[in-house]
């Protein structure tokens, strides 16, 4: 590139001391916003997990009173500890998290001790459904996406492209607060009469149309979350296209940036149809229209007095038009993180960088035209089902290419088994299981047996939990020293990793077994009544115990996370992992404006162990 990208910069605008509100709350600095996203998303992940733990009790021991004290006390004690530590040693973050944990404990206690929700300590089916819907919603829209895109994307992308900030800092702030309020709205629905939304995260009408008021609030919450994502995605695309440092061509972008780039397009173009669907469902619920209600409905013996004529399947089309691309939104940033960590810890370039990039673009494109593989059982004829089966099989190819390239990248490396690397490595086979189990689901005849069974639950949890969540953990451990200037403890990290690895498989592998046996998902009693489920029922307890153990293994992580902020081993340089990408070529932590001098890029993202180089890594900005 001949022209200079620097002409737009105005050198050294003065950095003012700003007040607390401006610095921590209404900050427009992408790094602060990234951290806000991170903390909020982690807390939501924790909350979504807590909901699932309550459900897992019911699944393993249907009809047995829940030890509510234990469920409320655990986050309570953790929260109190964090609060005390925070107050005593003046750590604002720990204190804040302590307060939120106490809040979660209070909410759990509020729910568990409510006689109408837990008569004699056993949750009622409505509550189970509501927890299930909220677990899905929270995990996807309030946990993983904000963490993967909002947090890592925000913090890392501008650094990796050598930009002083995101292209639109104010929009960035608006995006975070829109997300935050979306989350608050969602949470508030737990206190409504009838509780939170209870029609699944998919909110299929007519069920969702006739559901309690929590569903309306869910829709409003979704509109806020969608707004947040749209603002964010515009910002990311513009940042990546416009603010790349001089010399940083598209084919020199770190793969993580590519992943975020494609992800942003998915969010940008797939979310609006869900927003449209949300508006229509809101109209149905509030204005009495019948977009999704056919004529002649009789609900509990009463004719529903609406004009009718609508189509329940319309919602499904619009929902999955978003929700399928959304699952790639869950996975692409994770793949991006894994690629960064693998290149760094094998000390060699990624194998087949270009094919990975092209595969990702292709994957993004295809993800818009596979959605109806979630709807094979709605009565599809041969033409339409053939179309969607074919596109579904096609879309698995780029995934195979990406995974293959990542696995082959290991070959010939000098592999350092650091904690981030462990998580990144585990991602590969775990995503492999999750992805491969997508194949029988993607073919309509086999989906007959597997649709809406625990096989589906197993399939996607393998991709999102030991897949994406692990990748996110890898990212946390990997970029932690950049943010704090200190390393996280290796020992605690290893406990966290191995414990989580075993437990994750303990939770999700049996789901595949149950699913093959034909056990339906979303069953309040885990299938206890069904005769075909009897042979695999014993797994319920195994899965639940694994889930509880998984929770226990997050404690070393929590300790590690907070302890290391002030007590972790100090990094010796700005680039503790000897990495090549630009985010490591800034001061630690990066100041407002990121770079002390404008970076210029001369080489590709992963020039590790280059022959003729004295060190085993050559940063991108080295001439």
């Amino acid at each position: 590139m001949q022209h200079t990208a620097t002409e737009g910069y105005h050198a050294g605008a003065v950095h003012h001391e700003q007040g607390f509100l401006k610095t921590y709350v209404f900050s427009q600095d992408h790094k602060t916003i990234g951290l806000q996203y991170m903390m909020t998303a982690l807390l939501f992940l924790f909350f979504g997990f807590t909901l699932m733990l309550l459900m897992r009790w019911q699944l393993a021991y249907p009809g047995k009173a829940i030890p509510g004290e234990a469920f409320a006390l655990t986050p309570g004690v953790l929260g109190l500890a964090a609060l005390l530590i925070g107050v005593v040693s003046k750590r604002k973050l720990a204190a804040l998290v302590g307060v939120v944990f106490l809040g979660i404990a209070a909410l759990v206690w509020y729910l568990v001790s409510d006689e109408t929700l837990f008569p004699e300590g056993v949750m009622v089916p409505e509550l189970y459904n509501s927890f299930g819907a909220m677990h899905g919603t929270i995990m996807v829209f309030l946990g993983v996406v904000p963490l993967a895109v909002g947090a890592f994307g925000n913090y890392v992308v501008p650094l990796q492209v050598g930009a002083p900030d995101m292209a639109f800092p104010k929009l960035n702030m608006a995006s975070y607060w829109s997300y935050f309020f979306g989350g608050v709205v969602m949470l508030s629905s737990f206190f409504l009469p009838g509780g939170a939304a209870n029609s699944g995260w998919t909110s299929y009408p007519p069920l969702a149309n006739i559901a309690t008021v929590g569903q309306t609030v869910w829709l409003f919450g979704m509109v806020l979350l969608i707004t947040s994502s749209l603002l964010g995605s515009v910002n990311f695309i513009v940042t990546i296209v416009q603010l790349r440092a001089n010399g940083l061509t598209f084919m020199r972008l770190p793969f993580f940036v590519w992943a975020q780039f494609v992800t942003s397009f998915l969010l940008l173009l797939a979310f609006p149809p869900l927003e449209a669907a949300g508006i229509l469902q809101l109209m149905d619920r509030l204005a009495g229209t019948s977009f999704f209600l056919p004529s002649g409905l009789v609900i509990s013996g009463q004719q529903l007095g609406v004009s009718g004529g609508g189509s329940p399947l319309l919602w499904q089309h619009l929902f999955w038009f978003l929700a399928h691309p959304e699952v790639y939104v869950l996975i692409l940033p994770a793949m991006g993180i894994v690629a960064e960590v693998i290149a760094n810890n094998t000390r060699k370039p990624l194998w087949g960088y270009k094919s990975i990039v092209y595969a990702t673009i292709f994957l993004g494109f295809m993800s818009f035209i596979v959605w109806a593989h979630h709807m094979f059982m709605t009565g599809m004829g041969t033409v339409i089902s053939t179309f969607f089966q074919t596109t579904t099989m096609i879309i698995s190819i780029p995934s195979v290419i990406i995974l293959t390239a990542l696995v082959i990248s290991l070959y010939g490396g000098s592999i350092r088994f650091t904690v981030p690397m462990l998580f990144a490595l585990a991602f590969l086979p775990m995503f492999g299981i999750g992805g491969l189990t997508g194949l029988p689901l993607g073919l309509a005849p086999t989906d007959i047996h597997l649709h809406d069974t625990y096989y589906v639950i197993g399939h996607f949890h393998y991709v999102v939990a030991p897949g994406t969540i692990f990748a996110l953990f890898a990212g946390l451990y990997y970029w932690y020293p950049k943010v704090t200037g200190r390393m996280m403890s290796e020992r605690l990290g290893r406990i966290h990793f191995w414990g989580s690895f075993v437990c994750m498989n303990g939770i999700f592998f049996p789901m595949l077994i149950q699913g093959l046996a034909g056990v339906s998902r979303r069953l309040y009693d885990g299938g206890a009544q069904y005769s075909h489920a009897q042979g695999v029922l014993q797994w319920n307890e195994v899965m639940s115990i694994s889930a509880f153990a998984l929770a226990v293994f997050q404690v070393p992580f929590l300790i590690n996370f907070f302890w290391s902020i002030k007590k972790g081993k100090k990094v010796e340089s700005d680039n503790p992992w000897d990495a090549t990408t630009l985010e490591w070529q800034t001061p630690t932590p990066p100041p407002h404006g990121n770079f002390t001098s404008l970076p210029e890029v001369f080489r590709g993202p992963y020039e590790y162990s280059m022959p003729g180089s004295s060190r085993d890594f050559t940063p991108q900005n080295v001439r």
Partner: protein
């Protein structure tokens, strides 16, 4: 707009006026045709054809799409493809059902 000499802008303004007049004319035409009560298929085709022309005029001249950068074009083409998929596939699905 890069070649934004005053003269070029004045030329633009003339174009705007022409486009404006055409839009008005097309509006009148489309309303007039609707009073002919053509059968549904023909009416849809005519109305959408005129609307597309009008839309193209607005996008090309008022929104300067005609001289816009390639990047924006590509983004819009992508959007258009997905838009068509979103239109066509559910319809096909509704048409191609069991039984």
């Amino acid at each position: 707009m890069e070649h934004a000499t005053p003269d070029a802008i004045k030329k633009h303004v003339r174009t705007y006026v022409i486009v404006f007049v055409s839009l008005m004319a097309l509006t009148v035409v489309t309303v007039a045709i609707s009073y002919l009560h053509l059968d549904v298929a023909a009416a849809v085709i005519v109305a959408m054809f005129i609307a597309t022309i009008k839309g193209a005029l607005v996008a090309s001249y008022f929104m300067h799409l005609i001289s816009e950068k390639r990047l924006i074009f590509m983004a819009l083409v992508l959007t258009f493809i997905f838009f068509v998929a979103l239109m066509a596939l559910p319809l096909l699905g509704q048409h191609d059902t069991i039984g």
